[in-house]
């Protein structure tokens, strides 16, 4: 019963059913130069061997030289510690975002991916305010609002100089915080507002590839929340507040799964593109009490979807895919750098590595 309802949802406004790439992409000759440039840059993705080599480096200077050789920004002139190397990563991220903004003919879309960092920074600043901790090191200054301005706005609780989506998000978080005082909700509510913002911009843009990507992001976020709430036996109210609207699977279809056996959850998703993700993720969770395989499978689903943009020769899709795939690479590099800074053994670093292209 549940599965048939899900299939109905999949044939609706934003289908996520698998289909040939021919129907997924729409050619846009305005992106001819941009795609040519991106194709060249795609050659510089770090490979698994490169990450292994980074793990094997002994000194931070050696890792720095390696990253620069692989096309990373030169960063601070004097790299002495592993933590200094994060400056390379920050500058590289800024460069990638600036490049995509320059190449994009649709600024609303390229700005949207910078707004992602505004939401991240807002989340960090709100957490810092409510917990009284100093979380400055977690801020990433590549959003549309400079970190100083956002910090000042949160400190003064005055958002008049910030974009509307910032003040809206703060209002939602503040209202809920006063009622519950639950810090976990800051993440959940900010992410929910971020996806609302994404839906607001991407849906009217009418690009199938981006629409499906957004469906995947929201669905996978909801699946992870459902599994977490179910496994940790958290309050059902938390699930109600956490599920994000706008994906291909309606929240009303996910709520009942909170109370059903794990087999029913797997069977519910078995006819969708999330079948393998959910089956592998929940199996591992039941056997080893770890959410990591589910997280990794979700990333694999997203990465393999983004890699389909390789067949699109003209359009915004290769730009978006490059930007997002590069993010996965940055996460992997950062994991190694943090591991190196904390003197973690190589094997542990390998286990902690997130998925990357």
């Amino acid at each position: 019963m549940a599965v048939s309802r899900l299939n109905l949802a999949n044939t609706g406004k934003h289908p996520v059913t698998k289909g040939p790439d021919f129907f997924l992409f729409k050619s846009d000759a305005r992106y001819a130069y941009a795609v040519g440039r991106i194709r060249s840059l795609e050659n510089r993705y770090l490979t698994r061997q490169d990450i292994e080599r980074l793990i094997a480096t002994e000194e931070s200077e050696e890792a720095y030289r390696f990253l620069v050789e692989k096309g990373y920004a030169e960063g601070e002139p004097k790299v002495k510690t592993w933590s200094d190397l994060e400056s390379c990563l920050r500058i590289q991220r800024q460069e990638v975002l600036a490049l995509i903004s320059t190449l994009s003919k649709d600024t609303s879309i390229s700005d949207l991916f910078r707004e992602r960092y505004d939401f991240h920074n807002l989340k960090v600043l709100l957490k810092a305010r409510y917990s009284g901790q100093n979380l400055e090191h977690l801020l990433i200054d590549v959003g549309t609002v400079p970190v100083e301005i956002l910090t000042e706005a949160v400190t003064d609780d005055d958002y008049r100089s910030s974009p509307q989506f910032i003040s809206n998000t703060v209002q939602v978080v503040n209202t809920r915080w006063e009622k519950t005082n639950n810090p976990q909700l800051i993440d959940i509510l900010t992410d929910g507002e971020m996806y609302k913002r994404f839906s607001l911009v991407i849906r009217p843009f009418g690009n199938r590839f981006l629409n499906r990507w957004l469906d995947l992001e929201i669905d996978l976020a909801n699946i992870k929340t459902l599994v977490r709430v179910k496994w940790l036996d958290l309050d059902t109210a938390l699930l109600t507040q956490s599920l994000i609207e706008g994906g291909s699977i309606k929240e009303t279809e996910l709520f009942p799964l909170r109370e059903t056996p794990w087999e029913t959850v797997a069977s519910f998703f078995s006819k969708t593109r999330y079948a393998k993700t959910v089956a592998t993720g929940t199996d591992a969770l039941l056997k080893s009490d770890s959410f990591l395989p589910l997280e990794k499978m979700a990333d694999v689903t997203l990465i393999s979807y983004l890699e389909r943009a390789k067949v699109q020769s003209l359009g915004i899709e290769p730009l978006v895919a490059y930007l997002l795939l590069k993010e996965y690479e940055f996460k992997a590099v950062r994991t190694v750098l943090v591991g190196k800074a904390n003197h973690l053994p190589a094997e542990l670093m390998r286990n902690k590595l997130p998925e990357y292209p």
């Binding site: 001819a32 130069y33 795609v35 040519g36 440039r37 991106i38 194709r39 060249s40 020769s313």
Partner: protein, 160 residues
């Protein structure tokens, strides 16, 4: 409208349409090539071949235009009674129709070849050793422009 005007209208179509197709095709490939060359300037030679390929349709259109003008006797060695002075309206229509295969086959094949070449340049950026394969695949589109050219030539040089 007389026969001469109709024939010259055909010439104009052959040159304009095939030329427009080539301009679009070459323009598209050149933009992709510029993007690739901004990061990999050493690929210029390979990108050049793929960029030039959609330009051939414009040459075919011009060739047909030139042949029709020759056939009409507007240029070349003078004859006692040049064809353009005696061409009938019916022959004018026939001459006009002779120009259409290269005009339309040139227009559409150049645009689509441009897209094939643009994708070929992208492929070359990732695998420079495979540029030859990209060129061969793009040449398949050329085949249909050549058919248009041959049909136009056969029609122009039939027994009038």
């Amino acid at each position: 409208m007389g026969g001469l005007e109709l024939a010259l209208f055909g010439v104009a179509l052959a040159v304009f349409l095939a030329g427009i197709g080539s301009a679009i095709g070459v323009g598209l490939t050149a933009q992709v090539a510029n993007g690739v060359l901004s990061e990999q300037p050493d690929l210029f030679g390979k990108a050049l071949l793929l960029t030039a390929l959609p330009g051939t349709q414009g040459i075919y259109g011009f060739l047909i235009g030139f042949l029709v003008i020759m056939k009409l006797g507007l240029i070349g060695a003078p004859t006692d009674v040049p064809f353009y002075q005696v061409i009938t309206v019916g022959q004018g229509w026939q001459m006009f129709a002779s120009c259409l295969p290269v005009a339309f086959a040139g227009l559409l094949s150049a645009i689509h070849q441009g897209r094939a070449c643009a994708a070929g340049v992208e492929m070359t950026a990732k695998q420079p050793d495979q540029a030859g394969k990209a060129l061969v695949l793009a040449v398949f589109v050329e085949f249909y422009a050549v058919l248009g050219l041959l049909t136009s030539i056969l029609l122009i040089f039939r027994n009038w």
